[in-house]
């Protein structure tokens, strides 16, 4: 069902190939061309939205590896993003290291912090693990607020990203930086799921007892999942820091953490395409609600008290998500898979 009719594997290279048919190639190249020429058609406003989507996507992919593939529920993802963001800020601002060092450093530090908060996963599962990861969120934010190195409540400034002499100052140059890193992350995540490590993650998610009996080292792979997931969060955090230019712990709220879980659920847990759908859906929805709907409501219903629209939009936001989960409980990726197989088998669907 996963391959188009008549596509057969004649050797191992074909069997492992991601792009299999001419149509695949055409679609892929067309997509990449449109993606990389996006700054030509979109203004700074939409490029900013795309940049936010790209950064969110990197973090969501990490969370998807941790929650979707390995089944370790984490509700402290914004905390790990904060670790990455502040690491990059400290490295580039206070220690004046180059951007790339800050980027990798952010990933590694965030991953290591992730391992520490992932340690309870060895003993507890499910809801209980979720509670312990909430602790990560609050502890990290508390430390950021009370540590002189991070700038505390005042915040910290972050210089523009630069590689060699190239400074990523404009929205469009940052777009390229973010999109390329996001594309690499998507590629990595897609392939990770097909390796020994990815299979071990899925085995742990589906039946940890059976996985253990087959010789999967639970401690090692759970912590590895936490490391990879939080490494991605760190990378996203670093990019966010350089993109915004100024950090404050307010940006990494608990709500944001929950939103990340929401994104990967809406997209489809444990699929490589799920986070992409989920992130685009949530971020665009947020953008439309706050930027389009709020002014519209304010100007249409003038006899309501001022600011009522800002109060109404979160409710609408929640309503849309709830409706979405009721109508599409398996996520957008599932609908996408159904669409593909129906398209391929049309008109004889069985």
């Amino acid at each position: 069902m996963s391959l188009p009719c008549g596509t057969r594997n004649y050797n191992y290279a074909e069997d492992m190939g991601i792009v299999r048919t001419k149509t695949h190639w055409v679609l892929l190249i067309a997509f990449l061309v449109i993606l990389f020429t996006a700054p030509l058609y979109f203004g700074n406003y939409w490029l900013g939205v795309f940049n936010l989507i790209g950064i969110t996507l990197i973090a969501a992919i990490g969370l998807n590896i941790l929650v979707g593939y390995c089944g370790q529920l984490s509700i402290g993802h914004a905390g790990f993003i904060a670790v990455g963001a502040y690491t990059a800020a400290i490295l580039t601002n206070r220690l004046e290291m180059p951007f790339l060092v800050g980027l990798i450093g952010a990933g590694v530090v965030s991953g290591l912090i992730g391992i520490i908060f992932g340690l309870p996963s060895v003993r507890v599962k499910g809801f209980y693990l979720a509670i312990t990861t909430i602790a990560a969120q609050f502890i990290i934010i508390w430390v950021i607020n009370h540590w002189s190195l991070t700038g505390g409540f005042v915040g910290i400034k972050v210089p523009y990203a630069s590689i060699g002499g190239l400074v990523f100052r404009s929205e469009s140059s940052q777009f390229y930086l973010i999109i390329i890193i996001a594309a690499l992350c998507v590629f990595f995540a897609k392939n990770l799921a097909r390796t020994k490590v990815g299979r071990a993650f899925i085995a742990i998610r589906d039946n940890d007892l059976a996985a253990e009996v087959m010789g999967v080292n639970l401690l090692y792979y759970k912590l590895l999942a936490f490391f990879i997931g939080c490494f991605f969060a760190g990378i996203a955090g670093a990019l966010l820091a350089h993109w915004i230019g100024f950090l404050n712990a307010e940006q990494f709220s608990f709500t944001e953490s929950i939103l990340y879980v929401g994104m990967i659920i809406i997209g489809g847990l444990g699929t490589s395409i799920g986070p992409i759908f989920g992130v685009i859906f949530i971020r665009i929805l947020q953008q439309l609600l706050t930027m389009e709907l709020v002014p519209f409501l304010e100007s249409t219903f003038t006899n309501f008290p001022a600011g009522f629209a800002t109060g109404v939009t979160p409710m609408l936001f929640g309503l849309v998500i709830v409706l979405f989960l009721i109508l599409e409980p398996r996520g957008l990726a599932h609908r996408w898979a159904l669409f593909k197989s129906a398209y391929r088998l049309w008109p004889f669907s069985y």
């Binding site: 069902m1 159904l338 197989s341 129906a342 088998l345 669907s349 069985y350």
Partner: protein, 263 residues
């Protein structure tokens, strides 16, 4: 009386697994549904009890009628209230409740409180082992006891039609015979019809009145239990016996030539 009229079941709008299955379960009869793995037996049961939607399956054609009323679009709990109770494959006991509480959950939809007490005694009468274990947590019961508990729980709902999905799965031969004896007794004493899905053809046909053989989502053969027991193909392919009633020697027959092509 349950009537399946040429039903087709499709999963995910893409995969069709039942291609026109028709069968009738008369009141008070034991009907066996036989066939190899993946023939569509469990799907048929799920179609009747309304559990398909969990796996995004759907009855796309044909109809299922229970005493003249169509039930193929109804929800599982409505169908349960109408008296069709399915004991799921693989012992889904409520592991944190004890044996007696499990049985009482079986009577969840009933309003006649006094009769529930009586029926509890009835189930204990059928399964004395459960009475000994009445205060034990269900999760810690052995496999055989859990299977008894699941059947007993289905009995507590005073079903008009009880559907059992592989009650012999993973049980010792002696225990299988015991359970089948109890199913037969329950059928004759309570006049409950039973629809039985079973891999163990010999024992299933020993208690049932009528049987259907399924292959690849179709009913390929049906008849009374005696007819099926004496049918050469059933004997050969499901019981592994040759025409003489002895164990078959693969040297003598090119058995693939004898295999019928059902269509």
């Amino acid at each position: 009386m349950l009537k399946l009229n040429n039903i087709e079941v499709t999963y995910l709008n893409v995969i069709r697994v039942l291609h026109g299955v028709s069968m009738t379960v008369e009141d008070g009869a034991i009907i066996a549904l036989l066939g190899a793995n993946g023939a569509g037996k469990s799907t048929t049961l799920k179609a009747i009890s309304g559990l398909l939607h969990i796996e995004e399956g759907e009855v796309t054609d044909g109809s299922i009628e229970w005493n003249g009323e169509r039930i193929d679009k109804k929800y599982a709990e409505e169908i349960g209230k109408m008296g069709i109770i399915q004991a799921l494959e693989g012992r889904h006991v409520f592991e944190h409740l004890n044996t007696e509480e499990n049985l009482i959950v079986g009577a969840h939809n009933r309003r006649d409180r006094h009769a529930v007490r009586q029926d509890l005694e009835m189930v204990y009468d059928y399964f004395p082992r459960l009475k000994e274990m009445r205060r034990n947590t269900a999760g810690y019961l052995s496999g055989g006891e859990q299977q008894m508990l699941v059947i007993g729980r289905a009995m507590m709902a005073t079903p008009k039609l009880m559907m059992l999905d592989e009650p012999s799965l993973g049980l010792a031969p002696l225990l299988v015979e015991e359970i089948y004896d109890i199913i037969r007794r329950f059928n004759t004493e309570q006049k409950t019809s039973v629809l039985l899905v079973e891999q163990n053809v010999r024992i299933a046909l020993s208690i049932s009145h009528y049987g259907y053989v399924m292959e690849n989502g179709r009913v390929v053969l049906d008849g009374t239990a005696d007819f099926l027991k004496n049918n050469e193909d059933v004997k050969e392919f499901y019981m592994g016996l040759s025409a003489l009633g002895t164990k078959k020697s693969y040297r003598e027959v090119k058995h693939y030539k004898r295999r019928k092509r059902w269509l």
